[in-house]
């Protein structure tokens, strides 16, 4: 059955606004039409949303939804394979519980797509993937897998390995060395593998090195957790040495070196927002970070790092960024199209355009206002969450 959503003000996510627009979704969950409210096909179910606002389904590009418990204690922690500092062979896909209540929280927040990453206690943590936020079988929810290899700098690896387990890495130098060694080995592996392939000889596959190989071949980026400005610079230095793509996850001190990051065409995943500064490496946290980074040409996406900011509150976080000076359209872009592009899934989602998935959130009023709360969330043309007031 076709779905015709009529009467709402539509932010397409490409900078266009359609007053009293219409969005037509097909049986297959794709957008058939988006534009002025015109004739609706006879066989369409009509949803009248006059006075409401529609925005593209939000994309939270850095979460631990379904893999990090929310009020369940240690048994639900599956995001850090913390025994070994380099665990490139693991994949977040194999640790996610798709029926976890955090997916419900994501839908409540208007989020239709998340990237799920391993945690940040390992300098090389494992593979990430992107999925929709409704479903019961994770494989059916996946949009793209893998979307990156997680890395981490700074306090977390130092704490988990050096302090807790009395082994390397115990310092920032040790972390950098572990990452560098990993990519050097992956480079050797690549040479050996290519040689064996050419000669048609047997070659023993190593799943850890295969992950490294994907990064070296620039099929996926290295997604590096870095808060402090020097950690960010170190991450860029190492990625430059190996000529690999990267994104800076958190990028807390980014505004202090925004010029440098702009020149390097950095992708910054900024968040979690609303944060307090409990650790030394987050002492520089600023609500203006994303604003300053954007002004310097850094490709900026906002992230919740769920559960650290519950993904339910994604829009509230974006409101604060808007408050500190990022324009409404740019703020919207930082939670929709920019993360879609950063994850390489913009063909399917991130804006409301013909041929893309009919993923959208219905707001009660303008985005980033009290009225603009999420009233319902749609994935591929189907309502997956609706607000019932308490």
């Amino acid at each position: 059955m076709l779905l015709a959503v009529r009467g709402a003000k539509i932010y397409t996510g490409r900078g266009d606004i359609i007053e009293k627009g219409m969005l037509l979704a097909g049986d297959d969950g794709k957008i058939l039409d988006v534009g002025q409210d015109t004739a609706v096909p006879d066989n369409a179910e009509i949803l009248d949303l006059e006075g409401r606002v529609i925005i593209p389904g939000l994309i939270d590009a850095h979460t631990h939804v379904g893999i990090w418990g929310d009020g369940e204690g240690e048994p639900s922690q599956d995001s850090n394979e913390w025994i070994d500092p380099v665990t490139a062979g693991v994949s977040a896909l194999n640790g996610v519980n798709p029926l976890h209540n955090s997916f419900e929280g994501a839908r409540e927040g208007g989020i239709t797509t998340v990237q799920i990453l391993p945690g940040s206690v390992n300098p090389v943590g494992g593979l990430c993937f992107a999925c929709k936020t409704a479903g019961s079988i994770i494989d059916d929810m996946v949009i793209k897998n893998p979307t990156g290899l997680k890395g981490a700098m700074g306090e977390n690896p130092k704490w988990a390995h050096g302090q807790m387990q009395k082994k390397a890495p115990a310092s920032r130098m040790g972390i950098a060395a572990a990452i560098r060694e990993f990519f050097l080995r992956a480079g050797e592996y690549k040479v050996k593998k290519n040689r064996a392939m050419e000669k048609g000889e047997f070659f023993e596959t190593d799943i850890r090195m295969e992950s490294g190989l994907m990064v070296l071949d620039r099929k996926i980026p290295f997604r590096v957790h870095a808060h402090r400005h020097d950690d960010i610079a170190t991450a860029l230095r190492i990625c430059g040495e190996f000529a690999i793509d990267c994104s800076i996850e958190h990028c807390t001190d980014g505004y202090l070196i925004a010029d440098y990051l702009g020149k390097k065409n950095t992708v910054a995943m900024v968040g979690p927002g609303l944060s307090s500064s409990s650790k030394l490496e987050t002492a520089g946290f600023s609500d203006e970070n994303a604003v300053i980074l954007s002004r310097h040409g850094v490709k900026t996406c906002l992230i919740t790092d769920h559960p650290f900011l519950n993904c339910r509150y994604f829009l509230a976080y974006a409101s604060i960024v808007h408050k500190y000076g990022l324009s409404l359209q740019d703020t919207l872009r930082a939670i929709t199209l920019s993360p879609a592009e950063a994850l390489g899934i913009e063909e399917r989602t991130g804006s409301l355009e013909v041929g893309k998935d009919a993923d959208f959130a219905v707001l009660g009023g303008e985005p980033f206002t009290l009225k603009g709360r999420v009233e319902s969330t749609f994935i591929e043309g189907k309502c997956v969450w609706r607000r019932k007031l308490y």
Partner: protein, 386 residues
């Protein structure tokens, strides 16, 4: 003397006055209204129609005692060496130069409750202070406001995991009951003996036994909340509840007991099992059922600059703006017993107020100017914020 004129005065106590003025003198509000007399020599600030509210109050924080970006060296929240430490005083651990105070002023928060942490069954005395100055003694509004107590996971974790008591919820309750019993007997002995031996521990609990100050009891889970009420009724002491995460499940029970509840930090993540069911259901239901409550951030658990945002989110879940604003001003003042001095715009109250760029509950509004005791302690400029 200072007058703020041409303001939308949201008094909290008595409605909204459009085009109003408020006159401040000697650290107090002298008068407010539409047609009040303003002396000629008085300095004036034109609010240009902007909203003016009482300074916001966060009734439960660890500002200054769990410091910004410092970790253990700046964390003096829990004297976690003995589960019964009622003689500890937060006053002795607060660093007024903690960067939290800059953020508080910037967020329009003029007054806070500071409490010890929740590792101990009895953690020590909390106080209320103004967010200004460098000498804590000079910032105090009321000290003590009450003694901090805790039930549930935190004491269990701090002591039980090291094979010390308490290791269970039963143990938590037993330690609390035994302490109150001992303090009661200490009072009886003290009154009947000519030269009573001093015991600092029980001496510190006497104001609670005498019903001069309340216990502030950390409790998230519904059964912990009920245990808190049970024990306080048994010993006939005054009390208020902190966090009250599961409150919506037992709202009628709380209504019957007319307990004052400090709700939050709702924006926090599920760090433990007992705070799993955090949502705006609890404050929205409390408001509907007229259970006295306020919002807290538990700073730095949730950063206190999100206090107004928390109230705004409750509005998104159906609470009236009036109730939501009350729960971060007058409701907070009532919770920690300082509503005679702060929490609303009323003649005679302290000159603590905020000029806002727009509706104070809107996520995009700024506190344009924060005034404490009649002095401007923050004015919005173009400085970077952290």
């Amino acid at each position: 003397m200072l007058a703020i004129v041409n303001a939308r005065l949201i008094t909290v106590a008595d409605g909204i006055i459009e085009n109003g003025a408020v006159l401040l003198k000697d650290k107090r509000i002298v008068s407010l209204g539409r047609d009040i007399a303003i002396p000629d020599n008085c300095r004036k600030i034109d609010a240009i129609g902007r909203p003016v509210t009482p300074g916001l109050i966060d009734a439960h924080t660890h500002a200054g005692i769990s410091e910004h970006g410092i970790d253990w060296a700046g964390n003096d929240t829990n004297e976690g060496t003995n589960p019964v430490n009622p003689f500890c005083r937060v006053k002795d651990g607060i660093n007024m130069k903690d960067r939290a105070f800059d953020k508080l002023r910037k967020a329009g928060i003029t007054c806070i409750g500071v409490l010890p942490g929740s590792s101990n069954i009895l953690g020590g005395a909390g106080l209320a202070l103004k967010c200004t100055g460098i000498i804590v003694d000079e910032a105090i509004v009321k000290d003590p406001i009450g003694i901090k107590a805790a039930l549930g996971e935190n004491p269990k974790k701090c002591y039980g995991k090291n094979n010390q008591s308490p290791a269970t919820r039963m143990g938590n309750a037993a330690v609390l009951r035994e302490s109150l019993l001992k303090a009661k007997q200490y009072l009886e002995k003290k009154q009947s003996s000519k030269e009573p031996a001093l015991d600092m521990k029980w001496e510190a609990l006497l104001p609670v036994i005498k019903k001069e100050i309340p216990l502030f009891i950390h409790c998230h889970r519904h059964d912990d909340i009920v245990t808190a009420v049970r024990i306080c009724r048994e010993f006939d002491v005054r009390f208020a509840l902190e966090h009250v995460t599961d409150g919506h499940l037992i709202a009628d029970f709380l209504k019957k007991h007319q307990v004052h509840c400090a709700v939050g930090p709702t924006l926090y993540y599920g760090s433990k099992v007992e705070n799993r069911d955090r949502s705006f259901k609890t404050p929205v239901q409390f408001d509907r059922k007229k259970i006295p409550f306020c919002f807290i951030t538990d700073h730095p658990v949730v950063d206190a600059r999100n206090l107004a945002l928390t109230a705004g989110m409750a509005v998104q879940w159906g609470m009236s703006e009036e109730s939501a604003l009350r729960a971060i001003t007058l409701g907070s003042a009532e919770h920690i017993g300082i509503n005679d001095r702060v929490g609303s715009l009323e003649a005679g109250k302290d000159a603590d107020l905020v000029i806002w760029s727009g509706n104070p509950l809107e996520f995009t509004s700024f506190a344009d100017m924060t005034i404490i005791n009649g002095d401007t302690v923050y004015e919005r400029g173009n400085r970077p914020c952290y």
